[in-house]
């Protein structure tokens, strides 16, 4: 199991992240201290959770471009709920966040499952619809810090063993997702329906239904992040997390999750997200304009795609590239 966890790809990422940290700490003394590393992890928590949702969808040979819009809508909804009904307990708000996110994910999933519409088209559409709905819901108004209650804002910031609850949430989600992907029927079905859909059907797996549940997982996690986002930044507005769906895809691609489906691991997605998080936090330290971040993540995505393609090609012998041949790439477990 340990060898499975630290396959070549994941180990390489760990080494690269370690080298990055070492280089950055030569430029700034405080960068690699435990306290700052905990800060970086905490800062990256939301990306980690969303990347895990994106991973489940990509593993089934689909893509969910609506996650960031889902975050915006759910965040807006729970923020307004908290402002309007301050007496509601936080647990209930969390359930509402998970519920709204799950329903939005299920809508994507139904289109993909029942109507067989390519996921990229469905989620491109719902991406604008969900964010538009956030505008309709709020009328363009903001939910500001003073309108939200103390438990709503403070709970994710509480320190527990030196790490805020937000960071612990990410750790719990990582653990749960690891168990789901490796120890449950659904997790194995997700790998199978992406690795070789035809074989999955013959093995008795309902591929469409599996994709539906992948979208529900992604949506539910996005809903959770909607609350976490609004609480962390203490403000809710229509444009929160705009463009963040690309970061989640980037984290997955960097983490070695194949966009052809069926290949990838929880550890990869987490490390991919951490890689982006380290770079994002290091830019101000090494005096690079934050405006450069977009171009850097773009270059990293392209490099990672090239790198992934080389690795995947080594697994299967592809004489002529076509969809059939790429499906024959063995499922990496």
């Amino acid at each position: 199991m340990i060898r499975q966890l630290f396959k070549f790809r994941e180990m390489l990422l760990v080494i690269i992240i370690a080298i990055l940290l070492a280089v950055f700490s030569t430029r700034s003394q405080g960068f690699a201290t435990p306290g700052n590393l905990a800060n970086i992890f905490n800062d990256t928590s939301i990306l980690i959770i969303l990347a895990l949702g994106q991973m489940t969808v990509i593993l089934t040979k689909s893509i969910d471009l609506s996650v960031a819009a889902n975050v915006a809508f759910t965040g807006m909804a729970v923020g307004m709920l908290n402002a309007a009904q301050p007496e509601l307990p936080l647990m209930l708000i969390l359930v509402v966040a998970l519920g709204i996110g799950g329903v939005l994910g299920a809508i994507n999933g139904m289109f993909v499952w029942k109507l067989n519409i390519p996921s990229i088209v469905v989620t491109l559409g719902t991406l604008t619809i969900y964010r538009g709905m956030a505008f309709v819901l709020s009328g363009g108004a903001w939910v500001n810090a003073h309108q939200m209650t103390a438990p709503f804002l403070q709970t994710p910031r509480q320190l527990f063993l030196g790490l805020p609850i937000l960071g612990w949430t990410a750790i719990v989600i990582v653990a749960v997702m690891y168990l789901v992907m490796s120890r449950t029927f659904l997790g194995r079905a997700i790998y199978a329906s992406g690795g070789n859909p035809t074989a999955a059907v013959y093995a008795g797996i309902d591929v469409g239904r599996t994709r539906f549940f992948a979208f529900v997982i992604s949506g539910t996690l996005a809903g959770l992040c909607g609350y976490l986002w609004v609480s962390r930044y203490a403000v809710g507005y229509v444009d929160i997390a705009a463009g963040f769906e690309l970061d989640t895809v980037a984290a997955c691609v960097i983490g070695g999750i194949s966009t052809l489906g069926g290949i990838g691991s929880v550890a990869g997605a987490v490390l991919g997200a951490l890689f982006l998080g380290v770079i994002k936090n290091a830019l101000p330290v090494i005096n690079i304009s934050p405006f450069a971040q977009m171009a850097i993540s773009g270059s990293v995505i392209i490099t990672a795609v090239i790198f992934n393609a080389r690795q995947e090609r080594r697994r299967g012998r592809i004489i002529l590239r076509d969809r059939g041949a790429s499906e024959q790439i063995e499922v990496a477990a």
């Binding site: 289109f111 109507l115 088209v121 719902t126 309709v136 859909p197 966009t259 052809l260 171009a295 270059s299």
Partner: protein, 333 residues
């Protein structure tokens, strides 16, 4: 992808050419366009006015130019999500050139040149290195727009020469703007390219069965490269028109256009899975989208609510044929 074998409905004869014409997607879309036109003229007394209608065309001409090339690309089974970012980068380059006093012909050459350069970069990555176009162009999308952000940050370029304004604000004849005439000419050029040349037939062949196309001697990679170059070229031309119309450049210029352009193409009846579609359909779809957004604008509907309509339009138009097919299926079974 449905792996479960389905009962197939095979008609015993083809419909007459008249029923096929009226039953076609383009005819349906044309009817929708007429309906929207009538609804608009009933809803607003200001709608039916030659100058007003001429203004309405600016809503879609630039997007439609890119949509023509995108249609070819999607028919061949690829996609380019970086088009809006190419527009931003080309516009930034023109802005930078205008600051050092380069004249109008130079600016146009730079805008189109940057567009072609970006298209070539996409083409090399997808056709040359054989990488999946969705992820590659998500990467280049952040890279291209990221470069624009590095150059401009939160600033804006202005101060274009007066003669440069012609491309976005000039009129060729009466109410027919330069952009509209260019749009009309390009639609004819692309219709001929797709429907009356060997090159066009090859695009369909690749989209329908890349494997078979390769065995029938079609240089798949070369054609795909050309299509990416063409898409870059059209994005460059759109950048010239848009920059000239707005008279200024921000790095967020044309934000989200990739979605609207893909919507336009898919709305025009081009199959997102490749292999089917016409330029005529895309032209009508451009009018439909332009009329919808302009009509809603006359009714004072905010832009983000319009984007809900665009998203719904995308999903409904893709879902409708599938639902109808399933319904017919059940009836015939």
């Amino acid at each position: 992808m449905s792996a479960i074998p389905e009962k197939r409905f095979i008609p015993d004869r083809l419909g007459t050419s008249a029923t096929r014409l009226f039953g076609s997607w383009e005819a349906l879309l044309f009817a929708v366009a007429v309906l929207i036109f009538i609804a608009n003229s009933l809803a607003s007394p200001y709608f039916l006015n030659a100058w007003n209608l001429s203004d309405a065309t600016f809503n879609f001409t630039e997007k439609a130019m890119v949509a023509f090339a995108m249609a070819l690309l999607i028919i061949s089974g690829e996609i380019d999500l970086s088009v809006a970012a190419i527009i931003a980068l080309a516009s930034t380059a023109m802005g930078a050139a205008a600051q050092v006093g380069i004249g109008t012909p130079g600016l146009v050459a730079i805008g189109i040149g940057v567009g072609v350069g970006c298209g070539v970069a996409n083409g090399i990555l997808v056709a040359g290195l054989r990488l999946p176009s969705i992820v590659v162009t998500i990467g280049t999308m952040s890279l291209f727009r990221g470069i624009a952000y590095i150059v401009l940050g939160d600033k804006a370029y202005g101060g274009y020469p007066a003669s440069f304004a012609y491309f976005g604000q000039g009129y060729v004849f009466w109410v027919f703007s330069f952009e509209f005439v260019l749009f009309a000419v390009l639609s004819i050029v692309f219709a001929i390219l797709l429907h009356a040349t060997n090159f066009g037939r090859r695009i369909y062949a690749i989209g329908n069965n890349e494997f078979a196309a390769r065995f029938s001697g079609i240089r798949v990679e070369r054609i795909k490269f050309t299509l990416f170059l063409l898409t870059g070229l059209m994005s460059g031309i759109a950048a010239v028109c848009l920059t000239s119309r707005l008279g200024s450049t921000r790095p967020s210029i044309a934000q989200g256009w990739e979605l609207e352009i893909v919507t336009m193409v898919v709305l025009g009846g081009v199959s997102i899975l490749g292999g089917a579609g016409t330029i005529g359909g895309v032209v009508i779809a451009a009018f439909v989208m332009g009329l919808v957004t302009f009509g809603l604008g006359l009714l004072n509907v905010p832009g983000i609510v319009m984007s809900i309509f665009i998203g719904l339009l995308l999903i409904v138009t893709i879902t409708l044929p599938v639902v109808i097919r399933q319904f017919r299926h059940r009836k015939s079974a």
